[in-house]
């Protein structure tokens, strides 16, 4: 699910002069002019009480950068291996992932795969996961030692690529080329609703970073980050506009003018045929792509939840962020990051959701889970503050005393000392 509705699509609403009589409360005395002092007031950055969280995030990034360097070196040291000829099946997905799958099936390189009336999960080489929407069509264009290319020619698919893959992953849709850096994103081909409309290609990034380029203008790629999306008119006409035809039609896949490597058009592989062929594939010959009916959502890992929560937080979707943190506490209470999740949850409850009682419970939980964690200085200060606002003087005093005892030189000493006198 991408958060489509919130995107406005165009450049920032240019708000012209005189457009806001009374805007900004008291703007009248400056004749409708906007005041720079409003910026000074509105953009006052408060005390960074998430310094601890921000510091951890930075450390993770430093670590990632270091790991990426090591991995690149390792990869260069590996002897290059030869690949079977075109159309051959490629050794692919990990065995562990394979065992999760009910039915497994190979798709040949170059042969399009189209989903019928159900979503389909595809596993491509290197553990790339593709959730293909209904009536959508992808094709594994090529698998080379340095690069895997996938093309989407109809409908929509979400790609989930773990970072630091040895091979580059490239997804084409019409003239748009998406280079993956390690991320989750969706590519959609929106067919024209009416003959005079044009089809569009849309790329939306959920996590991480991708580079998007137009293949005809081999210029600078543009980096898209989480929450950003990109949309441009398609050059090629749709493979079919109706989309209501059953899968398995023998249409050749239409390709954009700028397609880098047109591969001999194979007929669409019907889902039914794929399914029946399942049992015949030898277990040692792992397929290039594995097809299963979309599985029920598996329990998200604590890390994934925390990551998702951060994305929601940054995008201002506080309820979603809170739900994710709560889920971490629910599902992974023993995880070392659970305490941090409790703290973050409390912070949202206190600042954004205005639920001070829930916030105090979350802060207490954070303290209970990891009493010695470095961010507990902030937790205690906030706990004291929340209890103070709630009028819980005894609880406030307890938190205050503990704060002043444990952090006599802390950042919040002045503020905490003034509470519940």
């Amino acid at each position: 699910m991408s958060s489509s509705g919130s995107w406005t699509g165009g450049p920032g609403t240019p708000i012209g002069p005189g457009g806001g009589g009374g805007m900004g409360g008291g703007a009248d005395d400056v004749g409708g002019k906007a005041r720079l002092s409003a910026v000074a007031r509105a953009m006052r950055v408060g005390e960074p009480d998430d310094a601890e969280v921000a510091w951890r995030a930075l450390q993770a990034r430093m670590l990632d950068a270091r790991r990426a360097r090591t991995r690149r070196r390792l990869w260069l040291a590996l002897p290059t291996f030869t690949l079977a000829a075109a159309g051959a099946l490629i050794v692919a997905a990990s065995l562990r992932r394979q065992s999760e799958r009910a039915a497994e099936q190979a798709i040949e390189v170059g042969r399009p795969f189209e989903s019928a009336d159900a979503e389909v999960a595809l596993a491509l080489p290197d553990g790339i996961q593709v959730d293909l929407d209904r009536r959508s069509r992808v094709r594994l264009e090529s698998v080379a030692p340095e690069e895997i290319r996938v093309a989407l020619s109809k409908g929509s698919a979400r790609f989930d690529v773990e970072p630091h893959r040895p091979r580059r992953v490239v997804v084409n849709a019409d003239d748009v080329e998406v280079r993956v850096v390690g991320t989750r994103f969706r590519v959609t081909r929106i067919e024209a609703a009416a003959p005079e409309d044009e089809a569009r290609i849309e790329v939306a990034v959920e996590r991480g970073v991708v580079e998007v380029r137009e293949r005809q203008h081999a210029g600078e790629p543009h980096r898209l980050r989480a929450g950003e999306r990109f949309s441009m008119p398609a050059i090629s006409t749709g493979a079919e506009t109706g989309g209501d035809r059953a899968a398995g039609d023998g249409d050749a896949v239409s390709e954009g003018a700028g397609a880098t490597k047109p591969i001999g058009e194979a007929p669409v592989a019907p889902v039914a045929r794929l399914a029946s062929a399942t049992r015949t594939s030898s277990p040692t010959e792992i397929s290039a792509a594995i097809v299963t009916p979309r599985r029920a959502t598996t329990a998200a890992t604590a890390r994934a939840l925390l990551e998702r929560a951060q994305i929601a937080w940054r995008a201002g979707r506080m309820n979603e962020a809170a739900a994710d943190y709560a889920e971490v506490l629910d599902r992974h209470p023993a995880d070392p990051r659970a305490a941090l999740a409790a703290f973050e949850l409390g912070r949202i409850q206190m600042d954004q959701l205005g639920d001070l009682t829930a916030a105090t419970a979350s802060f207490e939980r954070a303290l209970h889970l990891a009493p010695r964690a470095s961010f507990q200085e902030d937790t205690l200060a906030r706990l004291a503050q929340a209890n103070d606002r709630l009028g819980q003087r005894a609880d406030c005093r307890r938190a205050r005393q503990r704060y002043l005892r444990d952090y006599p030189n802390g950042l919040h000493v002045a503020r905490v000392s003034d509470l519940c006198p």
Binding site: W7, V30, M43
Partner: protein, 216 residues
């Protein structure tokens, strides 16, 4: 990346950016303590890095958020600036100047982001900064919605300026830096700073009141 370039910068800026309340941040001793931490961080002391990070986080956020206005990437840029500063610490000649050096790296990244934002818009991308609710996420929670709207209006006007003119103007008028300070932060000559600021002023003056002090 201009870490090496930035490394040659020796100008000492005041640590308190304009618009912060007095007493927010210790003054002169801070840079001396910074020097100590910079030396230790250079030697690989992660704890020293942490101290530098926490000490300068607010200053840097303040600067980046105010220069960029509503932009979902502000926090990323703050992080990126620290990341670059830490990996280029050996190039910092005057360890006492860590704060201004860090800020200079951030200003460079902000400039880059602003140019990219313009480019994205021209290409029909949504740079993220255009979503109206973004302003709510970066603005202080303690001011009235009317003030936030007015600030957003100023940023919408600023978006029409070339990136350098916008940054020079905001450093001069919002951060209340002197021209030499702006010149040091942006790595351009004082004459160019003056030209950029003048351009921004002439374009904005019909629509924006520059004075930061409220009228009685």
């Amino acid at each position: 990346m201009d870490g090496n370039q930035a490394g040659r910068e020796r100008v000492q800026l005041r640590v308190i950016p304009g618009g912060m309340e007095p007493g927010d941040r210790p003054g002169g001793d801070a840079s001396v303590e910074d020097a100590d931490h910079v030396l230790r961080a250079r030697a690989g002391d992660n704890r020293a890095r942490e101290v530098l990070f926490k000490r300068h986080l607010r200053m840097l956020r303040h600067r980046v958020y105010r220069l960029l206005g509503p932009d979902p990437e502000s926090e990323d840029i703050v992080q990126e600036a620290f990341l670059r500063a830490f990996s280029n610490l050996p190039k910092l000649i005057d360890p006492q100047a860590f704060g201004s050096w860090l800020s200079k790296i951030a200003v460079h990244l902000v400039n880059h982001r602003l140019r990219r934002r313009k480019l994205l818009r021209r290409l029909g991308f949504a740079p993220g900064a255009d979503r109206p609710e973004i302003m709510e996420t970066v603005a202080s929670g303690e001011v009235s919605p009317a003030t936030v709207t007015e600030a957003r209006r100023v940023y919408a006007l600023l978006d029409g300026l070339p990136a350098e003119a916008r940054v020079a103007f905001l450093l001069r008028h919002l951060e209340e830096m002197t021209v030499p300070e702006v010149s040091a932060q942006m790595g351009i000559s004082e004459r160019t700073v003056k030209r950029r600021v003048a351009l921004a002023e002439s374009r904005l003056s019909p629509f924006v009141e520059f004075a930061l002090k409220e009228r009685a």
